[in-house]
């Protein structure tokens, strides 16, 4: 049967969100709105030390002075910050003694997400720190990680048990005043993940967290801090799914990575928050600040597969401070219907012999808009810095848009910078080639899209690549094999 691009585009428009279900359990909610009392309430709820409360209040003071950024190539109705609930936690009477005690409904939710604990523990050897709304409810493999001295826990737990580490590193890469949403997050963050890899330790498994927005009207303000001490290695996975909701939900997370001398952090994200229905109604606002700091000889690698959210505003960045450090950014962003994504990276070269690679692949279908916005900055002291950027866009509908806004700033004459970008649709000659060889048009399109994203998908850890492929399949359903 013949299969044309128009049919594909139609299918893309018609398919609805697969993971749109809501679990019914009561939440422990704070009243809507933001003010000092709410911040004190959150802080008290979490039994936080005084310094952290002060940090929050200071960030809130700064936030009040700031205005929402408007430079991104996205259009949306601004969130009403006084109508958002800044704290909601699944109601818990007691801590779970064992896995069997966990609320069966919650187990069911996890199963739907395809991350059944038992299976994961048995088969994949992956430790999962699962965040239901804003509070983490279960952690596994702790014992094994403990042996190596690896700390992997929820952010609130880290604040209680390792305050010295949290205090030392929190806000050093993304200061509380960095930008509007980072300041908001610093003031009201409810939980998140904390990870510390001690000197010279190679984390034996992939660490992963699943985020999930659950209560209607709940803002999600996560904070992730990953510290890789000298000579250590960690691969960290983050994946998100959100249930179908009509009102827009705000997600403003902060992720800080710190790679000390000779350390390596690999941070992979699969994001499929609810993108809104095919008329552009609803969907998640994803305004995330992600940044990593590289010390001498260290390496930070960001890999992201973005298929969800109504509006995405996200620039995972690397500050290449130490000599010989390496930053990498691999991204696939798929937008459909009325989704808008403005995403990219910043590579700030400060140290000598620093290297960065940027591979960004955008696919726009329906009425969506997909922008790459990236900065490569070579400072005067960054001798022999090297950058390679490639940003490709694939357009699948005549109502979609693909935009490229690269910023290249070079202050050093020994630097070598290359940037290239292309925008096109799937070549008719490519499809013709496949058809000639007996591959149906549908399969051909799938093949081409898969091949187009392969450079990025290859960067994902094995366990995650499967899920990423699953997501791409859902996003481009019936078209990719």
């Amino acid at each position: 049967m013949g299969y044309t691009e128009e049919e594909l585009a139609k299918e893309l428009e018609n398919q609805e969100y697969k993971f749109g279900f809501t679990s019914n359990f009561e939440s422990d909610k704070a009243p809507n709105g933001i003010n000092e009392d709410i911040i004190r309430f959150i802080s008290a709820k979490k039994e936080e030390p005084q310094w952290l409360l002060e940090y929050r209040l200071k960030a809130f003071e700064q936030w009040k002075q700031m205005t929402e950024p408007e430079w991104a190539h996205v259009h949306y109705e601004k969130p009403k910050f006084q109508e958002i609930c800044y704290y909601s936690a699944p109601k818990q009477t007691k801590k779970y003694e064992s896995w069997d005690d966990v609320d069966p409904e919650m187990k069911e939710t996890m199963k739907k997400l395809g991350i059944s604990m038992e299976e994961q523990q048995r088969l994949t050897g992956t430790a999962v720190d699962f965040v239901m709304d804003s509070v983490s409810v279960a952690t596994s493999f702790k014992a094994k990680l403990n042996e190596l001295g690896i700390i992997f826990c929820s952010f609130s737990e880290a604040v209680q048990e390792h305050p010295e580490l949290v205090k030392k590193y929190m806000g050093t890469v993304v200061p509380a005043t960095d930008n509007f949403y980072a300041a908001l997050n610093s003031a009201v963050f409810t939980d998140g993940s904390f990870c510390y890899i001690p000197k010279g330790v190679r984390c034996p498994m992939e660490l992963s967290t699943y985020f999930r927005i659950n209560e209607g009207g709940t803002g999600q303000f996560e904070r992730t801090l990953v510290v890789a001490d000298k000579g250590s290695y960690v691969s960290y996975l983050e994946g998100c799914t959100a249930p179908m909701r009509d009102e827009n939900q705000l997600h403003a997370a902060v992720v800080e990575l710190i790679a000390l001398d000779d350390a390596e952090i690999k941070y992979s994200t699969v994001q499929n928050w609810y993108p809104g229905d095919k008329n552009g109604k609803g969907g998640v606002f994803n305004f995330v600040t992600k940044r990593g700091l590289c010390e001498r000889n260290s390496k930070i690698s960001w890999t992201q597969v973005e298929t969800g959210s109504a509006v995405t505003w996200k620039y995972p960045s690397c500050i290449l401070k130490g000599d010989n450090s390496i930053g990498e950014f691999y991204s696939v962003a798929v937008t459909n219907n009325y989704q808008q994504a403005d995403t990219g990276t910043k590579m700030i070269h400060l140290g000598k012999n620093t290297k960065s690679t940027i591979i960004s692949k955008g696919i726009s279908a329906g009425h969506s808009h997909n922008s790459y916005r990236g900065l490569v900055q070579i400072s005067a002291n960054a001798d022999n810095a090297r950058n390679f950027s490639q940003c490709d866009s694939l357009l699948m509908s005549d109502r979609s848009g693909a935009h490229t806004f690269p910023y290249i700033e070079c202050k050093n004459s020994t630097a070598k910078i290359e940037h290239e970008a292309t925008t096109s649709k799937i070549g008719e000659d490519q499809i013709f080639y496949c058809l000639q060889r007996g591959i149906s048009e549908e399969k051909a399109i799938g093949l081409i899209v898969n091949g187009y994203c392969k450079e990025v998908l290859n960067q994902l850890p094995m366990e995650f690549a499967v899920e990423a492929q699953k997501l791409l399949e859902i996003s481009l359903e019936n078209s990719v094999g």
Binding site: W71, H73, A380, S393, L395, M396, S397, D398, R399, S400, G401, A402, H403, T404, F405, P406, Y407, I408, E409, C410, K411, N412, S413, T414, A415, K416, I417, E418, H419, E420, A421, T422, T423, S424, K425
Partner: protein, 418 residues
């Protein structure tokens, strides 16, 4: 009643006189300026270029005349239109016999028609100042299916101290007309002068316009120029900008492609030394399908100079089958040189082939070694490689006399021989 608020723009222009002609356009421009301020680096379009260096100074209009022989292009028979400090110098100009071509003062234009022709073009604070206070300019018109016998060379010279020259020219090519224009910006050993020029026009159906722009002012002169052109169906536009002079140069080329089957090509070479700041902004707006556009800008930055390239191509919805290509190459010859490059694409149609590339680096070590191994000293080898690098763009200047003139400029300024 026009009310004008106290602001920097008003202060900047307060001592200037306004000629009586084109009064409604000038009034409109002054009204638009009302409440406007000079751009800071927080304004995205001026992110890399500080205009405070210009706007903190005071300039005045100083009509004068001088010998312009030195600025003419050798072995080129052409219409020569001379503007000294922004004023037309009739005695130094030569207008030859050319059928179908009319060259008149810009003030002879019918104001309403003029305003209508260019209503879609973009203005910024400097082009508005130019509109309100322009002291001279030509209106060039070429009739249907005419090919001009001679090229037109518009010679701008600035001389004196703290002089501002506001020139504004208009070119209109009727259906099928064909014209070659050279605009050169020159200066004597002038101090703190400011060339604020605008060149705009309309290229009719099937018509073709070629412009070579040469900027060779002393390194005490500021230069902000804007070229606004509207292209009708099946027209061709080619512009080459060669920049070697000026302390702070900002070129803005805005092309509105308002028809199918058009071809647009803008190229540039910028060579910076000492503390020069050379900024090239381009904007191509594809409103209709089946068009091609190509941009090649190459920069060589030495000493503490700064090069800026910001190219933007927009392909509007339903403007299918567009092929747009943008390339920017930069070579840094010195530790203190800076390059900022921002090639942008905004695409709203799917059946397009758009690409851009930007590179920043240094001369190829292997190539240098190869040449040195063959007995060419390092300096000559470097020159040879730089010449080859910018040669790709210079080769787009197809007129022999102009090309020879450019080569001579390079020889004079850098001791380069191609």
């Amino acid at each position: 009643m026009e009310t004008i608020q106290e602001n920097k723009v008003i202060q900047f222009t307060e001592n200037w006189s306004q000629p009586d002609n084109l009064s409604s356009l000038r009034k409109e421009a002054r009204q638009a300026l009302n409440g406007m301020d000079f751009p800071t680096t927080r304004v995205e379009d001026w992110k890399y270029t500080r205009t405070a260096r210009i706007t903190n100074k005071t300039f005045s209009q100083q009509p004068t005349n001088l010998a312009v022989e030195a600025y003419k292009i050798e072995n080129l028979t052409c219409h020569e239109l001379v503007f000294v400090n922004g004023y037309y110098d009739a005695s130094a100009s030569t207008i030859l016999e050319d059928d179908g071509l009319s060259i008149e003062g810009v003030e002879t234009l019918d104001e309403t028609a003029y305003a209508e022709l260019l209503e879609d073009t973009e203005e910024n604070v400097f082009s508005l100042i130019n509109k309100a206070y322009s002291t001279g300019g030509v209106s060039i018109r070429l009739g249907k299916n005419k090919k001009a016998n001679y090229p037109i060379h518009i010679i701008h010279v600035i001389t004196g101290t703290s002089v501002i020259a506001n020139t504004r020219h208009f070119i209109e090519l009727e259906e099928g007309a064909e014209l070659y224009v050279i605009t050169s910006y020159n200066s004597t050993r002038a101090a703190d002068c400011f060339n604020n020029a605008v060149l705009e026009g309309l290229i009719g159906e099937n018509a073709g316009l070629t412009i070579d722009k040469l900027q060779t002012e002393e390194q005490t002169v500021f230069n902000i120029t804007k070229e606004n052109f509207v292209q009708d169906p099946s027209s061709r536009f080619l512009m080459n900008t060669i920049t070697t002079g000026g302390l702070l140069v900002r070129n803005g080329v805005n092309i509105l492609v308002e028809g199918t089957n058009c071809h647009t090509e803008i190229n540039g070479v910028y060579l910076g030394r000492d503390k020069q700041h050379l900024d090239n902004h381009t904007f191509i707006d594809h409103l209709f399908e089946h068009c091609t556009s190509s941009e090649t800008y190459k920069g060589v930055m030495d000493d503490s100079s700064t090069g800026v390239f910001n190219g933007k191509v927009i392909v509007r919805q339903d403007a299918q089958k567009i092929e747009a290509y943008q390339s920017n190459g930069n070579i840094l010859l010195s530790e203190k040189a800076t390059v900022n490059s921002k090639p942008e694409l905004e695409i709203y149609a799917d059946d397009v082939r758009c690409s851009h590339g930007s590179t920043t680096g240094q001369l190829d070590e292997d190539a240098l070694f190869y040449l040195q191994a063959r007995g060419i000293n390092k300096k000559s080898a470097q020159k040879l490689l730089v010449a080859a690098f910018v040669g790709e763009v210079l080769d787009k200047v197809t007129h022999d006399s102009t090309r020879a003139h450019i080569d001579k400029l390079f020889l004079r300024k850098f001791g380069w021989e191609f």
